[in-house]
């Protein structure tokens, strides 16, 4: 057996008892002995690494609220693992509209490139206006698509900061002529969005009820401030939720509710950390 063959055996079978041929080679080859020793040391060290701990739910809620406030996400991504889905359900995914649209777009691209490759050559004078026309006609569609994929809530602090903070956004604002605005869409929250808010509220309530009744952080003034601000946020959240129940399309209130949830998650984290930081 050669060194490379031994490496292949180790790669495929790991450190489980090696076949006799590999053991013979290992006994004779000092390079492979070093390599084997390294691999063994890595395996031992890897076993000593503690298992990763998932961050608490409130961290995810804070993150999700931030993304929702910035308009980056609109609804929850499915959390099921692909491995747990039966193969026939995976097959059915192929016939979903989004997948069909992607496949259709792919076919169009292929057909288009075949057409471009095989079409009769045009002179540049004829060609330029056509391509410009195609470009200008495609611009609004791209813009609309981008807008519908990532709606930036008007007036949202994080969204507007992201919109104006990036140099790219500034360039776009200056160079692209104003485009016709998309008609206002129905702002009613999707069922998943409602579920998201409900889930967030439930997790935050659970975290809140788990807060110790005793003083946090060994600091009475800080403790009083944290608790008073938690009450303030709860009142504000209740007010926003009552308003949204009456007027589900009130986008500004929804933005404030999102920010309040995010602040509450951060506040609860600070409170829990304060409790833990007591030695």
């Amino acid at each position: 057996m050669r060194c490379k063959e031994l490496e292949a055996v180790l790669e495929q079978e790991g450190l489980s008892p090696l076949p006799p041929e590999a053991q013979e080679h290992l006994a004779e080859c000092p390079d492979c002995q070093d390599f084997f020793a390294d691999i063994s040391a890595i395996a031992v060290a890897a076993k000593q690494i503690p298992a990763e701990e998932n961050p608490p739910d409130r961290v995810w809620i804070s993150l999700r609220a931030q993304l929702a406030a910035e308009g980056i996400i609109r609804e929850e991504a499915p959390l099921e693992l692909a491995a747990s889905i039966p193969w026939w359900q995976n097959l059915s995914q192929l016939f979903r509209p989004r997948m069909l649209a992607s496949v259709g777009a792919g076919i169009l691209v292929v057909l288009g490139s075949v057409y471009v490759t095989n079409r009769p050559r045009l002179n540049s004078a004829q060609h330029t206006p056509t391509s410009q026309g195609a470009l200008t006609s495609s611009q609004p569609k791209i813009s609309e698509a981008a807008e519908s994929l990532a709606p930036a809530p008007v007036g949202s602090a994080p969204a507007a900061a992201a919109k104006n903070g990036s140099p790219t956004a500034r360039v776009t604002r200056v160079s692209v002529p104003p485009l016709p605005r998309e008609a206002p869409r129905d702002l009613k929250p999707s069922p998943s969005e409602s579920a998201y808010l409900g889930e967030s509220a439930a997790v935050l309530s659970a975290t809140e009820s788990a807060l110790p009744g005793r003083q946090l952080a060994g600091n009475a003034m800080a403790d009083a401030s944290l608790r008073a601000n938690l009450r303030t946020l709860n009142e504000f959240i209740a007010e926003c939720e009552a308003r949204l129940k009456q007027n589900p399309q009130d986008q500004l209130t929804r933005e404030y509710l999102n920010v309040a949830y995010q602040q509450k998650a951060e506040l609860l984290t600070a409170m829990m950390d304060s409790g833990r930081s007591e030695h």
Partner: protein, 295 residues
């Protein structure tokens, strides 16, 4: 004889007890122990201070390439650690007992730093005061106020209930709070992002051309005072509050094609002052937004 001995013993005991009480009283009333430490640094050091007990943090600058940390702890129930690693100086103050009284769990700091210094300061209840420091800074407090004077850089302030007073600040400012107020006076800031849930916001100063200013308050008052030389696009909107426009004479219809929202759930005001070079966005949930011109 026996009676006299008993009396002497009583007197000695009483005197002893008195001395003990006096000594205890002196111990309680003793002045905080003060320590001063010096650290040589290069041009742009980073100072990280975590004060998880009560106390005040004061930061001032000087021309020397040296950081001076003066700390005072009110009792021996507070541990203060200071460590230098290259140009980074870490300062930590923590309580050594579970339930120290507020006056016992207190550590105050005075820092003198080079003008170009980055700061990361965190405290619970004391005031954070920073003067004449140029450098990025992140200041966090639960209930303590934050006062900044003549500072510049990327300034991030986060409080739970503490308020911010920013005088003659320049650069970029981010303030987030639940119930803290924000007062920004005579700024040269080109990017402002202020968000408070129930606090008030006062912005009294110029808007730098091409700057972006965003101020949001859930329930508080937002008041913006601009000067006649300012040039900005204004967008103010509120769900349940009101927009009090006391500068109607200076506010023209928006020159960049923006129109007031047709959303029936919000009151909004859109307009332009001057050529509309800067961008100002104000929003509240139920508070008042007031726009006025300085005299």
């Amino acid at each position: 004889m026996r009676q006299r001995t008993w009396t002497e013993r009583s007197v000695v005991t009483a005197l002893g007890a008195g001395l003990f009480l006096c000594a205890g009283g002196l111990a309680v009333a003793r002045p905080p122990e003060q320590q001063e430490r010096h650290f040589k640094v290069k041009e742009r050091p980073l100072v990280v201070l975590q004060n998880i007990v009560n106390g005040r943090i004061e930061v001032k600058s000087w021309k020397n390439a040296e950081v001076v940390v003066t700390s005072s702890a009110a009792s021996d129930k507070v541990a203060i650690d200071v460590e230098q690693v290259g140009d980074r100086i870490d300062i930590n103050a923590s309580s050594l007992v579970d339930s120290a009284q507020p006056h016992e769990a207190e550590a105050n700091f005075q820092l003198v730093v080079p003008e170009q210094t980055e700061l990361q300061l965190k405290t619970q209840t004391g005031l954070i005061l920073v003067e004449q420091v140029n450098g990025d800074m992140k200041l966090q407090s639960v209930a303590g106020d934050v006062h900044l004077k003549e500072v510049s850089g990327y300034i991030i302030v986060r409080t739970t209930g503490g308020s911010l007073v920013c005088t003659l600040c320049s650069g970029k400012l981010e303030f987030t709070s639940i119930s803290g107020n924000a007062t920004v006076v005579q700024p040269s800031l080109n990017n402002v992002n202020v968000m408070t849930t129930t606090g008030n916001i006062l912005y009294d100063g110029d808007f730098i051309h091409t700057g972006f200013y965003q101020m949001n308050s859930g329930r508080g008052l937002i008041e913006v005072r601009f000067s006649g030389n300012d040039s900005f696009d204004l967008k103010a909107q509120t769900s349940l509050g009101t927009v009090d426009n006391q500068a109607a004479a200076f506010l023209k219809p928006d020159s960049h094609g923006n129109h007031a929202s047709t959303d029936k759930f919000r009151h909004s005001l859109i307009g332009t002052v001057g050529q509309g070079l800067a961008k100002v966005e104000l929003s509240s949930y139920s508070g008042t937004i007031r726009i006025l011109k300085r005299d």
